[in-house]
């Protein structure tokens, strides 16, 4: 069934979009991720304009994280104070992101920046996750003891000024890295159309040493509101949020996520992380191939003024 998208101004196959939302939703439920980094490239590769893909996925991420945040609020597994500070940074980062997005689009370099960023971030995170999960699997096989968080262990971050106490996370840390982390991920999320959970969670664990029990809920909470802000910024700035596309994706997504989550319970954590690492790497690789191989068509056209902009 063909469905005309009012903002993208093209008809799409509704079942295809629904299916994409469902498949990515399944994976996001399985791995406990937002799935933006999979969904945005899928939409781009299937012919939706990159600007519309990115902006619309920010809306879809709102839906998928809202669904999970409810659960974490019920379990009280969120550090609201930490999330709020992250969120302040996130909103600022997101606003800057939209400005840059608009600028890059005007000079015709948006696509390449999106592709390069995907290669860089997915490549790095993918390799880190791959190494970590392979080590974990080996450790489990050899029966070596698992390293846990050692209290009192400090890194350079703990030497920064403007310290604030985050009771729920049992942290006494400067707000500078917290704001910076929020801003960085808000910025990237807005430009790349991702929630950034797969970057936020390791950063909170390894850099700030937030207890793992609180990390996911806090990260989701911050993503929910940063992406809400990003949706509004995109709607106002680039005007590329397609509500029809978003709704189709999110309905597919939330349904898929339920099945994914059920299946995820039957798999080991380290195996899941290995699979996720491979998935992240392959998306990064796909972008890298596009950047490095001689394109089929060297020319492209973009409407810059008048009808249809």
């Amino acid at each position: 069934m063909q469905l005309y998208l009012p903002i993208a101004e093209i008809p799409v196959n509704m079942f295809l979009i629904f299916g994409m939302g469902g498949a990515v939703g399944f994976l996001s439920g399985l791995f406990g991720i937002g799935g933006g980094f999979l969904l945005t490239p899928l939409l781009i590769f299937s012919g939706i304009p990159p600007a519309v893909s990115v902006a619309t996925v920010t809306t879809q991420v709102v839906a998928s994280s809202a669904s999970a945040v409810v659960t974490y609020i019920r379990r009280k597994a969120i550090d609201l104070k930490l999330a709020t500070v992250l969120l302040i940074g996130g909103i600022a980062g997101s606003a800057i992101g939209v400005l840059l997005f608009d600028m890059l689009q005007a000079v015709g370099q948006l696509d390449v920046v999106i592709a390069l960023s995907y290669v860089t971030f997915l490549g790095t995170i993918g390799i880190l996750m791959l190494v970590e999960s392979v080590r974990a699997i080996r450790r489990r096989r050899t029966g070596a003891p698992v390293q846990t968080r050692r209290p009192g262990q400090h890194n350079w971050i703990h030497g920064l000024p403007l310290k604030v106490r985050f009771r729920r996370s049992k942290l006494y840390v400067s707000v500078i890295p917290v704001l910076g982390l929020g801003a960085g991920i808000g910025f990237l999320g807005t430009i790349l159309g991702i929630g950034g959970g797969f970057m936020m969670v390791p950063a909170l664990i390894y850099l700030l040493r937030v207890p793992t029990s609180i990390v996911i809920g806090t990260s989701l909470f911050q993503i929910l509101f940063t992406m809400s802000a990003a949706t509004i910024f995109h709607a106002m700035g680039t005007q590329t949020v397609d509500i029809v596309l978003a709704l189709t994706l999110m309905i597919g997504g939330v349904i898929g996520a339920q099945f994914g989550a059920r299946m995820g319970q039957n798999l080991r954590g380290d195996q899941l992380r290995l699979l996720l690492a491979l998935l992240v790497l392959s998306v990064g690789l796909r972008f890298a191939v596009d950047l490095l191989l001689t394109p089929e068509d060297l020319y492209s056209i973009a409407i810059t003024k008048g009808a249809g902009t």
Binding site: I10, P11, D297, I301, G306, A307
Partner: protein, 258 residues
């Protein structure tokens, strides 16, 4: 006895009196004046009917009429870019901006366009893709020798998108003076006011021309959504967020783990 005599007189008069410029009249009608884009829009087709009528005192000309019908969409500025290698990565490098080019351009004709009239005339009325005026704006770093590559690439990409087309021999004469053709409007056409210009040629001379208007507009939900996104973008964004949160929350409630 008198009748043939009058006929001869009329014929002589027609022959000697200087030809009026609009001896042939061209009338066209569209199957629809408005194309509305709704959620099930996947492109459409408009049919153009027309008639060539002659003045009573114009003698029938030898040879056939040549017709060209040009459908044009609202103007837009388009940037054509060319990728080049930069530090091993393919990125957009050179570009050329075309000003006020039609967002949609389709020409239907009875014969091949080059045979209908000379270059100057075709250029003047922009009949045929090769006769479109693709004006370049501002300064351009592209060397003169490569400008044609951009022009060709632009026309090629537009044709691939289905937005530009040239269909020779697509006008069908139903009777000696009545004709019909159809032009397909793809799903990705921009909204706005379109013009349908018809040109009547004979032996390279433009005998008559006429213009009709066609409007393409989003209607109903599509229009509402589009206008909301344009004019009340903050509320549009807010609605998107609320909708997303509600969907997420609803899913959380429905699929709540026991």
């Amino acid at each position: 006895m008198i009748r043939p005599f009058i006929l001869v007189l009329v014929l002589i008069a027609a022959w000697t009196v200087p030809q009026r410029t609009q001896a042939e009249d061209l009338v066209t009608a569209l199957s629809a004046d408005m194309v509305s884009i709704q959620s099930n829009f996947t492109g459409t087709e408009i049919v153009i009917f027309g008639q060539v009528s002659r003045d009573l005192n114009t003698i029938s000309r030898r040879g056939n009429y040549d017709l060209a019908i040009v459908v044009q969409g609202p103007a837009q500025d388009v940037t054509a870019r060319r990728k080049g290698r930069f530090l091993g990565v393919w990125i957009n490098r050179d570009y050329e901006r075309f000003r006020d080019v039609p967002s949609f351009y389709a020409v239907a004709s009875t014969t091949s366009i080059g045979d209908m009239a000379d270059r100057v005339l075709l250029d003047e009325y922009e009949i045929g893709l090769n006769h479109l005026n693709l004006a370049i704006t501002g300064s351009s770093d592209v060397p003169l020798s490569e400008r044609d590559d951009f022009r060709r690439a632009f026309l090629r990409l537009r044709q691939e998108q289905g937005l530009y087309s040239e269909q020779r021999e697509s006008i069908e004469f139903l009777t000696e003076s009545m004709f019909r053709t159809s032009v397909s409007l793809p799903a990705n056409i921009p909204v706005g006011n379109y013009t349908v210009e018809s040109f009547l040629f004979q032996d390279g001379v433009l005998l008559s021309q006429t213009e009709a208007e066609l409007s393409v507009a989003k209607t109903g939900f599509e229009q509402l959504t589009f206008e909301m996104a344009q004019d009340h973008s903050f509320f549009y964004g807010l609605i998107a967020v609320i909708l997303a949160m509600f969907t997420g929350w609803l899913a959380g409630v429905i699929f709540k783990k026991d």
